[in-house]
């Protein structure tokens, strides 16, 4: 059984992740190319794996993708498949990157790797599902999009993470 404090934190982060992803999916237009999104929810996943364990992060992503698919009405559709595959793949890469390369890279580097993995996984999956190699033409654009979405998200985590740690420390002291 986890301490109550952890459960409250994880629930709040999950709530933030779900709202951010749902609002992005429902109200924000695609950036430049079809399907490209800000991926703000990815930074929340990164926060979860920084503040808690990698298992929490995987669970966080699975529950978030499931819940958002219920909100947007895409549960068990191909959209859901793309979302789940991209989310889980990027989470695993970020977990590995965070564990072995954090220090040399800041969270921005970790986030960029996650965004890159997310986009490439979804592209490969779409080639598989649609059976059409021509979709690979989008690859350079998606790699480029990974930079302009992944890096700012990581920078945000760079700022947020110390503050959240400070806030939890203060809560514990009082």
């Amino acid at each position: 059984m986890k301490p109550l404090r952890n459960i409250v934190w994880l629930s709040m982060l999950l709530g933030v992740g779900i709202i951010v992803q749902a609002v992005e999916a429902l109200y924000l237009p695609s950036l430049i190319i079809p399907g490209a999104k800000l991926g703000l929810a990815n930074s929340i996943t990164l926060l979860v794996m920084i503040m808690f364990t990698w298992k929490d992060a995987v669970l966080h992503v699975a529950v978030r993708v499931l819940t958002v698919s219920l909100i947007t009405g895409t549960f068990l559709s191909t959209t859901f498949l793309y979302s789940l595959a991209g989310g889980l793949a990027s989470t695993f890469v970020m977990i590995i990157w965070l564990r072995y390369f954090y220090g040399a890279f800041s969270f921005a580097g970790v986030s960029l790797m996650g965004a890159l993995t997310h986009n490439i996984t979804q592209l490969l999956l779409s080639v598989l599902i649609l059976g059409h190699i021509g979709i690979m033409t989008l690859l350079p654009w998606l790699i480029f999009m990974a930079i302009i979405t992944g890096v700012p998200n990581g920078l945000m985590v760079n700022v947020l993470e110390p503050r959240l740690e400070k806030a939890t420390a203060q809560l514990l002291n009082t």
């Binding site: 390369f101 890279f105 800041s106 580097g109 190699i133 033409t137 690859l139 350079p140 890096v151």
Partner: protein
Amino acid sequence: MLTVWDRALIVAVMAMAALSFFLLPKAIGAAGRERAVIIQSGSRPIQSFPINEDRVINIDRQDGFCVVQVKAGRVRVKNSDCPKKLCKSQGWIDDIGEPIVCLPHQTVINVSSKSAEGSKVDAVVR
């Protein structure tokens, strides 16, 4: 905020994007431009030929005949004994997504391609 390695990673990923931008179209194009003519009887493909080799194919069925001509990267029905000759009057085709159908003989002539690269259509839904 950004470490040296972060910056190096960003530069590396940008290089990756640029590299794939220039290399991918060639890689996809080579696979995509391989077009084939597929002749179907009903929903069953019966014969397939490369589109860039000239030839004349005679299709003889119990209910009639159909002469298909492949020439200079295009295909047409040269002659048929069907009543309205709609297949013949469609003329030459050279792209995916514009099949010639000879309904009385249930014969379909299609151009297939692994990719829509260099094609007039964006994509084909299967």
